[in-house]
Amino acid sequence: MYSNKLGRLMFGLKGLKVTSACGAFERAAARSGFSWAAVCKQRTLWQQRSACARMHQTGVRSAVHTTVDHGEVKRFQLLANKWWDEEGEFAALHAMNDLRVPFVRDNLLNAQRERHPGQPLAGLRILDVGCGGGLLSEPLGRLGATVLGIDPVEDSVRIAQLHAAHDPDLRDRVSYQACTLEELSGEGEPQQQPEQGVTQFDAVVASEVVEHLADLDTFAICCSHVLKPGGSLFITTLNKTNLSYALAIVVAEQLLHIVPRGTHDWEKFISPVELERLLESNGFLVQSVQGMLYNPISGAWSWTNNTEINYALHAVKQDDEAQDGSSPSGGHNEATNS
């Protein structure tokens, strides 16, 4: 069912030879003549490396300097056409806008002084990391913010641009770029003058992204570079618990097909505590963490106190002086200096 669709997509989009139409995504190496095996091997290598880095928790930056995981890129490339089908593979993400747009909007409004009726986020610059088809960039743009959406998958960015092109309101406010976060923030190197070649954003939104990244340290550092001091970082992702494995992987992917199979890798999930530690060691102060719950029957999300499956996190970038000095959260910030 899903594999057939995928097979057709692959054939249509990439012109690859499809040797067998069946098989789960995890056995992708056997599916076509393309060097899937090599890609998978590379991915496993990166996984091991980043897992090592995290496990040791020495704060030494991992050998990988990129956040991009090429296996993930390939997977999303194949789903590019499905972004704007509200009842299709990304239905749950469309529904999540009911939670994440108010989350971003209200937290940004709290920090603002002026009120603009009709355009609550007017004057703010927001970076949407891993924007995909622009599902979250568009609502934020409609609320008045100037949004830059970036995604390493070029097809997704193309779809996003096409979708926003028809709307005169969005054409001026929402723009997209097919690049990675490191490229945008300037090679991931810390810079003494952040204004040099890097545009400063009031907020960075990384929704359902960190569970697809190869290296979170680099991600946090790059976010810090592109944000103004006092700027907000919004992350929504999944927790690494037994419950999240049961519900998000087994039930959502394999049983109910709410999410395409193979979308999530449980090893990449991160708990709020770990994420908080990671962010605070990179100069952020976590303001709030809130659990989210998906109801597959109604297809709607709701807020909950339980962060065991999905959660949303809001962190604020500390001023530069506080960051370079001794970190109050205790050690491990050798990564800030090259």
């Binding site: 704007w84 089908d85 509200e86 009842e87 239905a91 529904a95 806008n97 009911d98 747009v101 108010p102 909007r105 009726p117 009709g118 355009q119 609550p120 568009e138 609502p139 934020l140 743009g141 409609r142 609320l143 096409l162 979708h163 028809h166 709307d167 005169p168 029957i297 109604s298 297809g299 709607a300």
Partner: protein
Amino acid sequence: MHKFTKAPLVLNGLGRCLITEKHLPAVNIIRRGLVCSENRTDSSKTEVYDVIISGGGMVGSAMACSLGMDPNLAGKKILLLEAGHKKVMDRVPDTYSTRVSSISPGSATLLSGIGAWEQITRMRCKPYKRMQVWDACSDALITFDKEDLLDEMAYIVENDIVVAAITRQLDAMPENVQVKYKSKVVKYTWPMPHHAAESIPWVKVTLANGETLQAKLLIGADGPNSMVRQKLGIPTVKWNYDQSAVVAVLHLSEPTENNVAWQRFLPTGPIAMLPLSDTKSSLVWSTSHHLAEELLELDEESFVDAINSAFWSNENQSDLIETAGALFRGALSAIMPSAGSPRQLPPSVAGIGPKSRVMFPLGVGHASEYIRHRVALIGDAAHRVHPLAGQGVNLGFGDVACLTHLLSQAAFNGKDLGAIQHLLEYETERQRHNLPMMTAIDLMKRLYSTNAAPAVLLRTFGLQATNMLPTLKEQIMAYASK
């Protein structure tokens, strides 16, 4: 007859409004299908509006005003298209117009929210405190009033005054709210529900003068014969009553406080006298087509006699019914001695106003779906009722309030205004409110259309019993006031 084929459609609508969740499964969304789509890339030349409202009657213009005044929709481009000319009323005319509506407190709240109610009270409106409804075939009657006659039950306002007041408010709106008069729509082009790369995702509206406009959301407020509804192919449960309504302005024999609305159910149809001022009232007489034509041809004196006798004579009552009625009343007063009210007679009529009497046919209609992809129906375009309960325009104003609230919330969440999620919520909420009301009105009409003894006995007893239960009456009034 044909009612049985219509029943599944009604049940379909009922079913959907009872079980619909916020996110419908794909099947139902696809069912709402498309009629045709446009595949051109010149979208940059045609102007894209956020909302286009088709139809500038009481409900359509109230919708435009309501959207324009909402703070969350500030800056959104709203356009109202009206085929007629602009209704300006610098000075209220001395003569009353024949078409009036009963505005419920809920509708008055909406109108005061858009600033039109103040204009209306300054121009001309008549509040009434009591309503007496009684049967021609028996002694049964029911009166509705608020406690101690302190509060107003509802208001009688001429339709022209409502439109003029709202038009005045529209004139004062900022430039993002526009009105185009004398613009008749000749064609609608519907978008594909699933966004395809080359096609324009907006609704395209073509006017008679060749202009084309595009809208992210089209609101159809174009009356009971809605072109929007027909072009979408929405199945509509509708039939014509074999009745027409005759309307006129009545001059009363002597000035009176005139704060009571009177309605008497004759076997041929209800006759209602609604207060306009201390000396004038409005007549709405729903009767068979044949009788209505006859009434229009009568000279003034005979017409006035016919009205007075319709309200006053007791010729339709048989002895059986009278005795039975008396028995019921006796039994009920034994259970609830304090309830019940004395029968009053309406003021007598001396003459009619200078504007000629008119008649118009009556029917009922209900669209099984109020919404489609990027389209919503409000007012008579979605539902049409018999005037006997004075609810027609109030249901429409209820639609306006509900849709405005949902669009406001959607805009505050950065949503595309034409997205189906909140349109579905609107449909569910309004169908849940409108369908019971419409069914009740239709049942009443049928029940009172006969003078067969069993029906008369049933409704006599029902009316008397309801009259004796103040809590039930309060519930009815509350539901009708929304």
